[in-house]
Amino acid sequence: MRKVIAFLAAAGMTLAAGLPALAQDNTITIWSQFADQQPNQQKALRQIFEDYQAAHPDVKLNVRFWDKAELNPAFQAAMLAGGKGAPDIVYYETGQADWIKAGWVDNIHDTIDTSKILAGYDRNAFRDYGVPVYLLINMLFYNPEVFDKLGIKVPADNMFTEEQFDQVIKTCHAGGYSGLANAAGDRPYAGTYIPQYMLLSQFGADEYHAYWTGSKSWDNPEIRKLLETYIGWIKDGLYPSTYSSMGIDAFHLYFHTLQKSCMLALGNWYTARAFKSEDAGGQSPDFHFSFLYYPEMDGAVDPKGLITAFAGFLGEVSTGTHKDIVKDVLKFMQQPKYGAMWTQVTASPSALRYTPSDVPDSLKSDPEIAKWSWYWDEIAKVYADADYVEEQLPCGEFQDALTTVFNDSIPLGTMTLDEAIANLDAHLCPAN
């Protein structure tokens, strides 16, 4: 009898020891951008995660969508606390290169199949650390109706010279419009598009990168002339009077609904906030804007350059658990059909390679997607011969100097040209 009891006790203890393994929680926590203001991006990612869960019923993907301004500090705080409360997968952008240096995002070289990603990713600084979500292209939108009303004729090559561009700004301003809708109320980059493209047009990709990544001094006559031109455009009415206080949602409305500006300089992620219900702050599908190349500077080396970047990555957090499942999720996401789905649903190009046959049948005839087809036609028409230049990022202190000078001080008129150049030169990135 005693032996029976002893055997049962031993068996029970063995079973109890094994129970935690059997009851292992296969929940993966994912933190992503694309808060409620960007429903299409949320929809696309949710579809991918739901498909994964359907294929793997033993795994639960717990997704939380954040506003970008809240996600980054929350993740930073969690990782500085040793990873407590941190997710297993995190969405990050090129501005978070520090996270890789900090060791917060794992090297998942074997998980990323660059053959499934658009050309150029094998040269990208993030190629071993995240699956890219979409391709960013910085474009110049314009309102054809306002141009018509003001008698502004767009050249055949969709590109104004710098003198013509100045005249466009003056005409818009005289007509009660701002040149651009861009405003820096809650974003640190709205004022950087124009000077960035002026540099690219004037000097070409290599020199542009040298200046914009803080590798080269800005104190020379060519830069001074270029910045004087930029300051002149601002004085002529390039930005709205509420440039410093208008936020990103408001300046989208300013362009597409209030139609108080002639143009808008922004990335193609414009569609995230614009291609949604008008009740939710989106634009009317009947508002057909078009595109321009940025102004051609005198003696331009690369007038048709378009800055592009792999934008947004999903990476494996170093303190996460279930890394085998995390890698599996990230591999799952790289299927061409999800690249096709992302492009169709969000109207922004996926970073994944796909062919028309990868577009799901359900999306081919979806009226919600079809109503934006004119957008792709315009891009194809205007930017057919664009020269795509890959973005390179500067070190943090120089990036902050660029923000201070071009996004804040010069548009506000609180910094002279000499002060601006001195500020930039004072924060050049250390040579590697």
Partner: protein, 315 residues
């Protein structure tokens, strides 16, 4: 039968009945409180001081700490944004805001004290803004100050004062004023109730005697009430000043220290240096230095004020 006479021998009382609690009981009540205080106040404060001597950054999954001595302090005292924007803005706010706060609190408390009609309703109304979250207040006033559709500019335009309808939060000369105004609206109720409590402690008989002697109400305020209110006013001034030195929520929600740092305060700058992806560099040493230096400034300010107040016989 017990002997109740004075000569009866006294029974030896147990220690706890003699008015001294046992050490165990004392410890049982004090240890949790001290433990909480040490853990959540002393330790973080000590670590903040300690961190100022190091540059701590996460690298390769580890927190790498390098001793830099007073390097962070040297860096701070050549930091253009800290010295040129954050400190002056915070000091201006601390001085101007405190004066406006205290004057408003005294005036309104006097109105209540002298039984303004509907004073019971006003007493509640004037305190209500304090109950709101600073973030909510900042968000709401962000819309009030909006250039195109904000309430303030709409009112100005309605009375044909269009030239005054400016971009209150977008210019370089107005955002700090907006911050001071909004924070005043949010916080004056706190000073108001403290002053009102101080007024309530003044014996009414003093005023009645003064009135009988022909004192006017105005003379009563300046000759009797305000002098008796001095200790309360000292407290209100100190609390109001400290509050503005460390206020963060309203500024952050309203302007985030912008545009171009023109409404930057020490608190918002510290936040950016600690957590902004571009500025922080994930280093804890430099923001800790900002916190320690500003702690010293505020403590010094309060001590100097208290010293001068006591020298002037105000306490």
């Amino acid at each position: 039968m017990s002997d109740l006479s004075a000569n009866a021998p006294k029974k030896a009382m147990p220690r706890h009945r003699a008015g001294r609690a046992s050490p165990l009981w004392i410890a049982a009540f004090l240890v949790p409180v001290f433990g909480y205080y040490l853990t959540f106040t002393v330790y973080p404060l000590a670590m903040t001081f300690f961190n100022t001597l190091f540059k701590s950054t996460p690298e390769g999954g580890q927190l790498i700490t390098r001793f830099v001595g007073f390097g962070n302090y040297q860096r701070l005292f050549s930091d253009g944004i800290f010295l040129g924007n954050a400190v002056p803005n915070t000091l201006i706010w601390g001085l101007v805001g405190t004066v406006i706060d205290v004057v408003t609190a005294v005036l309104l408390a006097l109105l209540i004290y002298f039984r303004l009609p509907l004073h019971n309703i006003f007493r509640v109304l004037w305190f209500t803004p304090v109950l709101l979250s600073g973030v909510i207040v900042g968000v709401v006033f962000r819309w009030v100050f909006n250039f195109d559709w904000g309430l303030l500019n709409a009112c100005l335009r309605a009375v044909h004062l269009d030239m005054l309808a400016v971009d209150w939060l977008g210019r370089v000369d107005t955002p700090l004023m907006a911050v001071i105004a909004v924070h005043w609206w949010h916080s004056f109720g706190y000073s108001f109730v403290i002053v009102l409590a101080g007024l309530s402690a003044i014996p009414r008989e003093l005023l009645e005697a003064a009135y009988i002697d022909g004192c006017t109400r105005r003379d009563a305020v300046f000759a009797i009430i305000l002098p008796l209110l001095r200790p309360t006013l000292i407290t209100v001034i100190v609390l109001s000043f400290i509050g503005k030195m460390r206020a963060f929520d309203v500024v952050w929600a309203l302007t985030r220290g912008g545009p171009a740092h023109h409404s930057e305060t020490v608190a918002t700058y510290l936040q950016k240096r600690a957590f902004d992806p571009l500025l922080s560099g994930l280093d804890l040493g430099y923001p800790s230095t900002i916190a320690v230096v500003w702690f010293g400034v505020v403590v010094a300010g309060v001590l100097i004020f208290n010293y001068r107040a006591s020298r002037a016989g105000m306490t």
